[in-house]
Symmetry: C2
Subunit: 336 residues, 2 copies
Amino acid sequence: MTEDPRRRVTLADVARRAGVSTALVSVVMRDAPGASQASRERILGVAKELGYRPDVRARSLASLKAHVIGVLFGKAGRFHLELLDGLYAAAEERGWDLALSALTDSRDEKQAVDSLRDFRLDALVMLGPPVPEPLLAGQVPVVVVGWHVDHPEVDIVRTSDEHGMALAVDHLVSLGHSRIAHLEGGSGLVAQARRDAYRSAMRAHGLEAQIRVVPCGGEDQLDGQRGARALLQAGSELPTAVVAFNDDIAAAAMSVLAQQGIDVPRDISVIGFDDSVLAQSPGIDLTSIRQVPREMARLAVERIVARTDGADVADREIVLEPGLRVRTSTGPVRES
Amino acid sequence: MTEDPRRRVTLADVARRAGVSTALVSVVMRDAPGASQASRERILGVAKELGYRPDVRARSLASLKAHVIGVLFGKAGRFHLELLDGLYAAAEERGWDLALSALTDSRDEKQAVDSLRDFRLDALVMLGPPVPEPLLAGQVPVVVVGWHVDHPEVDIVRTSDEHGMALAVDHLVSLGHSRIAHLEGGSGLVAQARRDAYRSAMRAHGLEAQIRVVPCGGEDQLDGQRGARALLQAGSELPTAVVAFNDDIAAAAMSVLAQQGIDVPRDISVIGFDDSVLAQSPGIDLTSIRQVPREMARLAVERIVARTDGADVADREIVLEPGLRVRTSTGPVRES
DNA sequence: CGAATCTTCTAGAACGGTCTAGGGCTGCGG
DNA sequence: CCGCAGCCCTAGACCGTTCTAGAAGATTCG
């Protein structure tokens, strides 16, 4: 209170006030063994009273383990913000810190990782956009969230595209659909996986003859409109249902269909993927496949902590099961 | 090369290799005065050869000025990513570092700032979401990007909503419109500013009698649909043009109108705000007001550097002029 | 009752930089 | 030839932590 408010409270301040050494305060703050219950409580009291917060920089400098997780993110959307939210929560719970680095147009993966390196991270979480070959793999624990990557030293936390697509196709089949097309999402890793998953799901129902992949060329609304037009102009009869690469494409397609006087879900059913805000909008109200970002984030942090502690976790890939969120964009096949 | 690759290259490594003291290397790396041209070149050469990168933590610990800008962001969308992109570029140019902190559902402003504080930032940039009272103001230089705030010690970089709205209304008036409604964006600071700006712009054209603010309640597509329905159900005759709080609302409104068989721009013209990707989508192709995120970011960093250097900049607010991007969602008023 | 062990605490050296004070050189005027 | 700048450079303290080694005091045990 009487101090210069500009200067932050340090370990030494707490130690002086409590009449102990800085080392002891350090022990207590880290919740490490080697302090009596009595002094633990007293020191924590003083620390709280003074509003002490440890300096991450000094802490990570001094300790071999900085307990800092670097996070690479890009394409920030709702889903990614929720992942971040989950990461923050999980990291804080474990006493770790997060250092974020954004991937932008003029800032590639290498630059982003380098700048994180300046902070001496000791683990890396990659939220995307998907790249086939993660940097830093092998040097520190790396967890990739949301897509699959083939690397012996990279952990993966993702939602099962296979299962998600199967849910979507199952749902449509149970509504009587069989001419089910797929609006794909371009050449990305996730798009590939979902495309393959669509094919498998169709085959599982004996519908290989009905397999129809409509190219969009990308994964945003613009691409969705392009795909929808391709679907319409193909000349042949329209499918009775469509499962899209994601909600953006599904929603964009729906609006193109609406412009052509084609009613959803009466004339055609549409399913999205990711259950984003878009899907939840009343005017769109899209049946979609739901991922669980917070859970994914928690598992990613858990895995990092385990690797850092030297735990010998055998499996590299954690696959979560998605859920189906039914809304009004899907309905029974129309009697013709 | 022969070293343990796990260990990072330090100042001492460079110094040893170059046969000088660490202090001299430090001088050279900081580009500070006090080293001869000859040794400067030699040391830089060695540093590059060894792949030396200074440790941000140690650097900021040791120096009073850490040269770290804390960045608060939330609602990450295209616009915010571009702001980040600009911040990275401008900061790097000046030798500063960025420390990001995200605002999420379960992580409020205070938490986000506290975690940044642990990194000992010496300036703060707030990208949103808009809050009326910025934390940390007065302790370190604070720059708010994108909205206005009343605080004697906070710098502001924003685009002129007044000018933007004037551009939109001017454009519509020049096309012959007079019944121009505004789809507002809820209770946020920016929404208020744009609402007021709309009113002023209408008054400037002697159209106060035509002022019509349609409530949406918020600023995303969901709210836009709500607003469009309110517009339609109001009973009275439809306006011939609408200027929306942002592109999301405009696009959502357009799709609702389309569903009702109302053609854009034949029956009604629509203008958005922000010129986001959405506005640029072919199927939407929305006339919109364009902000310049990279320029805003650059100015924010510039201002921070100035404040840190103790420059006595009098004006607190930098207001950029937006531009009008005309696309196909606006057209001449229909002859009735 | 003295030695061994455990618990609790502390001194002091890192960590990788910055920065102040001062020590050699050189060149120049007196 | 000496004194005095001025330029380059270095030694060493310091930033706020962690961590190792070891010192006191309490406790157990032979």
